[in-house]
Symmetry: C5
Subunit: 98 residues, 5 copies
């Protein structure tokens, strides 16, 4: 899994029927830079399965495992948010809410 | 999933029989750059399952999940377009039709 | 899927028995550069399932989907050529046989 | 699999129920640089299945295979620590505990 | 699949039981550079299923397909060596034993 920040959301009307009712969030993975987590330049669209909101730090899963939540089962989904991160500790030190 | 722009299409006569009748689109993923989505240098060939057209912003799925649409079931396909994007909002601001 | 050019071939005598009789081609993926497809620096070894030859532009599939051709079924294969590309059109213009 | 150093841990209260009781470690993959393993800039969150601790060098597995440990079975997990590394030998020379 | 050079080996005593008896090799993928294969800076740990040795050029498979050898079946393994490479031909010219 990777850590990411929720930076936005995506609206699509014309889509695969399995996506009906799914919340599509735009997230930006964090990369580690000298014991600090900084936002990378990438951006992933992940289905929300835990009630995440804008600005929150989340944990997301990719690949076939992304279909193993009640929200995403059997859907053509390859990224899902599986947790809202409360704290990250790097080398014994609490990282500022990344 | 990732966002991408449909930039072209691919024609292949000699191919795996499961590809018969599939529309193969050339798409270019978007990357995030200071709250703007810009086209990356990469290019992916994805099967269209939602009626996407040239210039449109789409959502695409990769890996084994790409086989979970009616169009791609059991085919040797690893990328499929699953939605046509109407709007992307980054940090509360609507992004120009990317 | 990605587009690639067939640049060579690989010979391996000592190998997993499922590879017996498979043609292993060395291919180089294309990346998009200002509406032109140029060869990237990477190189992948893919099983040929469509009769591709040296210098041809091909379409290849990766991951678990690479096992879904008659040639590769149940084999420990993660890349397979699924089509020979006749034409690629980018933004309405036919790309030189890439 | 890849080698990585355990550099921290992640706490998430609101999460997929399958994550209950799992230990989430922040790990940093190693890359090879002239026969020495050095920490890369990336960071992955992996489930611990072998009792790994801070500072240790570990072996981790990604993708669908990450669900094949007793700890992670059927969970939406895409990275798991499967071994604690005692020694790495590069070209016949023991690498300093990386 | 990718080509790689076997550059070392990894010892782990505390590990998932499915890894008992497996030989873990450290391999370095090759990348193509003007018709020559050169070692990349990456390093992967792959299970050996064909009797590969230090310095040899091998073919390895990643992802779920890595579990499809007798050695790795049902194990949490995501990379396996499936062949020992005898020869690589690039654009009609035999590449020096890479």
């Amino acid at each position: 899994m990777f850590l990411a920040k929720v930076i936005g959301n995506v609206v699509a009307t014309q889509k695969n029927p399995k996506f009906q009712g799914m919340k599509l969030l735009l997230i930006q993975p964090y990369v580690n830079k000298e014991r600090t987590l900084v936002q990378s330049g990438g951006s992933v669209v992940a289905v929300d399965s835990v009630g995440a909101g804008l600005g929150e730090c989340v944990l997301f899963t990719q690949g076939s495992s992304a279909r193993l939540t009640p929200t995403t089962r059997d859907a053509p989904v390859d990224a899902v948010i599986v947790g809202i991160v409360d704290a990250v500790e790097v080398e014994g030190v609490m990282v500022e809410k990344p």
